[in-house]
């Protein structure tokens, strides 16, 4: 009787797992298939295959401009978030700083506070400064939103790293900066890169702050997609969505390779 109940649970569990997997993945697969459609509207299954929507994507200045803007935001903001976030994580984990745990929690606020509040707040603050509709304004917003990911990734890697390694270097005569550069930094690099990668992905995907702070002239891909989906959708949107999905898959793969080197094992 006991075995019977367990078997039934395993069957149910398996069925729910399959259903959840389909639920999470199937919509994305459908979008990828539709992006190769030959039809002029979003229908599934597509009547024929073509690359016309990808051609359309790269020939339409609205999309190519948006892509340029996204990259112009992504590179400086991910770099800044990584530099500031790594420095902060190092100070918080290794330093003797009063209130470190409170400061650490405060640095996570931008991903805990709902995006709409951050967006409205930045939009309001930017009005007096003339930062709305500028790249600078967007970059600052994106650094704020993405920095917590870097702080989280780097500090969790730092915590698994034995501080005695640095101490050993110091004992052997290395000045603090050299001990950091020659010992800690190389060990930490995979985590830093993984934080950078996630910051870049998060910046590219960020919508709500961009929606408030951008303008018709300075408009990143996410905002262009948003207005397209709410207007008349055509399969171009499926093409850009598929590219974003492919980008996410590659980033996830690279990240899992990096993770294997951080020493932080995946559960």
């Amino acid at each position: 009787m006991k075995g019977d109940g367990l078997d039934r649970w395993r069957t149910l569990r398996g069925a729910i797992c399959v259903a959840v997997a389909l639920y999470l993945i199937a919509p994305l697969v459908i979008v990828v298939i539709i992006s190769f459609s030959a039809a002029s509207f979003l229908q599934f299954p597509p009547p024929g295959l073509s690359l016309r929507w990808y051609r359309n994507l790269f020939n339409d200045p609205a999309w190519t401009d948006a892509l340029t803007v996204s990259i112009q935001i992504l590179i400086p903001s991910a770099t800044l978030a990584t530099l500031l976030g790594t420095a902060a994580a190092y100070a918080l984990v290794r330093g003797r700083i009063p209130g470190a745990s409170v400061i650490g929690a405060a640095l996570m606020l931008p991903i805990i506070v709902p995006g709409i509040i951050t967006a409205a707040a930045l939009f309001g603050a930017y009005r007096g400064l003339g930062l709305n509709g500028t790249l600078t304004g967007l970059i600052i917003g994106h650094v704020i939103i993405t920095m917590p990911y870097v702080v989280a990734t780097v500090s969790s890697a730092l915590r698994t790293l034995d501080p005695r390694l640095e101490d050993a270097a110091a004992t052997l005569g290395a000045p603090p900066f050299q001990a950091f550069r020659r010992v800690t930094l190389p060990l930490l690099l995979p985590a830093i890169l993984s934080g950078l990668l996630f910051a870049a992905v998060a910046s590219f995907d960020e919508l709500i702050v961009s929606l408030f702070v951008s303008s018709a002239r300075v408009r990143p891909v996410a905002v262009q997609m948003w207005s397209n989906i709410r207007g008349d959708m055509d399969p171009t949107i499926a093409a850009i969505a598929s590219l974003c999905f492919a980008f996410a898959l590659v980033a996830l793969l690279v990240e899992s390779i990096l993770r294997r080197r951080t020493g932080v094992e995946r559960t």
Binding site: L24, A120, I144, M147, A152, S156, R266
Partner: protein
């Protein structure tokens, strides 16, 4: 405990308290000024200038615009339309949360107790949508659920429905989209909690004569509570602030508080009311987190 932090960068990280036993003698006597403060300063400065101050300004407008006082909150209380939106917001969160828990629990269980191969696959499958843009996933749901979309085609084709069902721009659409986005938030904390359960407890319960069902209810489930409460709270407060999903998959009757805040600013320029609504949203999330802190401890939340 040890590994889940980096598993899920989205959820942030536990406040970096220095673990006991790792205090460094080399740093010198306690109380001495640590120059590493200078490494922390730029991030904290940016946070104060570009996040804390703007948010503080927005919230303060609740009490200062259009005039000083509590007028905005009084208005809020009298506007039936607003109260309806607040009610919607809470109800939608309260509906999405148990669905996420019911679907997430078996997945987390399989992730914890299944084979290594199954675990790797499940983690990958749960992480993929996590790394994929919210907008892309929401758009994918629009395609899936639309009137002539694949799901309706299948339902009609299989004879499960005589005509296409209205799955989009209503509560169904919103819940399908929201639960999909929120599932990882409950699966990972549950998985972390399940990993910590010593299998000896279940064996002891079974040896002592409890049936598997009884052992599950009395021993296993209570031990997953920290993870379950953490996941449920995360899902609940994330849903409260949702903007993209209700705007794209819900209908007018599923308007949520974030949409209301946006309308107040973009359509009416009513910063005072936007501030009041933001304050309300933050306060509710804050109270939920506080309750969680009191029950299972914030370390589990921030993970």
């Amino acid at each position: 405990m040890s590994t889940s932090g980096a598993l899920m960068p989205h959820q942030g990280e536990a406040p970096p308290a220095r673990p006991a036993g790792r205090e460094r003698a080399a740093t010198g006597p306690a109380g001495r000024f640590d120059r590493r403060v200078f490494l922390l300063a730029p991030a904290v400065l940016l946070l104060i200038v570009a996040f804390v101050s703007p948010v503080g300004l927005l919230l303060s407008r609740a009490f200062t615009q259009p005039q000083v006082g509590l007028q905005n909150f009084a208005d809020l209380w009298e506007r039936r339309g607003f109260l309806q939106v607040l009610w919607n917001t809470v109800m939608i969160s309260a509906t999405a949360t148990p669905i996420c828990v019911l679907l997430g629990f078996p997945v987390a269980h399989a992730m914890t107790h299944g084979s290594a191969r199954l675990r790797r696959w499940l983690i990958f499958i749960v992480l993929v949508p996590f790394w994929t843009s919210l907008l892309v996933r929401t758009f994918a749901n629009v395609i899936l659920l639309q009137r002539n979309g694949p799901l309706n085609t299948m339902l009609v084709g299989l004879g499960l429905s005589a005509e296409p069902l209205p799955l989009l721009y209503n509560m169904t659409g919103l819940l399908v989209g929201a639960v999909q986005v929120l599932l990882p938030f409950v699966i990972f904390p549950l998985h972390a909690a399940m990993l910590r359960i010593d299998p000896a407890y279940m064996q002891a319960a079974l040896t002592l004569g409890a049936g598997p069902i009884r052992a599950f209810w009395r021993v296993y489930l209570p031990l997953t509570m920290p993870g379950l409460l953490t996941g449920a709270t995360l899902v609940f407060i994330s849903t409260l602030g949702y903007y993209v999903t209700p705007a794209m998959l819900g209908g007018p009757r599923q308007t949520m508080i974030a949409q209301l805040i946006q309308d107040q600013i973009a359509q009416f320029g009513n910063w005072g009311m936007a501030g009041a609504l933001s304050l309300l949203l933050l306060a509710v999330s804050g109270v939920m987190l506080l309750l969680l802190q009191l029950t299972v401890g914030l370390k589990a939340v921030a993970r």
